[in-house]
Symmetry: C2
Subunit: 192 residues, 2 copies
């Protein structure tokens, strides 16, 4: 049955949006992170992830200069820290110091990640795409790291243990993940 | 404290990934949807959303031809249907008919959306970006619609009622959202 829909107009509402802590070294070599929610995986081969950043952000020139960035995914328990990293600018504040977080130099790219986050990606800049207000940085994934306490007994990532923070635009809320619904490429096989 | 991390190698693992039902009319004018998880919001002005699609997909030529697509976000209760739409090809199956879903013609763009989904975006194709295995379609959001039973008493979208389906790559699982963690642009203000 088709239901009635209410229009919200032309806006940026999609659920869920991720909470991406984009890590880079600034022109002075200081490790910095900024929180971004406009992004996601964008290709499989090469594995690639996009994050969109405004030109006015401190992170913008840093990524272009070293052609590298990281993405650290915070847990729900790190929501306040992640929010802080989106409010403050690295031009004025040493966010790693303020948050008592470790800036760990990437193994594969010239950018720092958050040592305390449960899930980290290292990315080499592949392309920059101009889209109005934002520049979309497309990074090739060079490595994915999962904190050891977020692996299951077989060494696979445990989504519930990672407990990723989610962002809801428009309502401007953070949410957590909930229940496992089922297996992909499997649930739909029962339908003809 | 910095914890030990385990490397998963260069792969596409980011949490959460969305479950995007990309709607389009095929060359014969038949309404079709395909499930995609590689995508997200990519700009604010104009409001824009990206979805990456392989060239071999039935949807690929359809989007290019009409320069339009929609994104319907399924609820957790629609997980099996969403999974079906990712397994089968519109070249062989009428997915709307198989799923008993309504193909509603967009108000603003020449593409159909799923009338039963709680959240829908109408998009006009802005750019196509080649990224290895995938082509990223960047669409300008022309309208966002929320099902009326997913609005709160003030007419704002209710994230818990929308109950969006989430995808976890690598583990290949669907998840639901859980608890509200807090307000964005607010939680972090308590940190110096």
């Amino acid at each position: 049955m088709e239901s009635t829909m209410k229009s919200l107009g032309a806006t940026t509402f999609l659920l869920p949006a991720p909470v991406l802590l984009a890590g880079s070294y600034d022109p002075q070599g200081k490790a910095n992170i900024m929180t971004a929610a406009w992004g996601g995986i964008c290709a499989s081969q090469p594995p690639a992830v996009a994050v969109s950043i405004q030109r006015t952000r401190w992170t913008y020139a840093s990524v272009l200069e070293r052609k590298a960035f990281t993405i650290s995914i915070p847990s729900t328990s790190q929501a306040a820290q992640a929010d802080f990293a989106g409010i403050r600018s690295g031009s004025k504040v040493d966010k790693f110091a303020s948050l008592h977080w470790s800036a760990v130099k990437g193994e594969y790219v010239d950018a720092p990640y958050v040592g305390e986050c449960p899930l980290v990606l290292e990315l080499a800049l592949l392309q920059s795409v101009e889209i109005g207000s934002h520049v979309q940085f497309i990074g090739e994934v060079k490595d994915v790291k999962v904190r050891e306490d977020c692996l299951d007994e077989k060494g696979r990532p445990d989504v519930a243990a990672i407990d990723p923070l989610l962002f809801a635009p428009v309502t401007r809320q953070y949410w957590g993940i909930g229940k496992l619904v089922g297996k992909a490429f499997s649930l739909g096989l029962s339908i003809d």
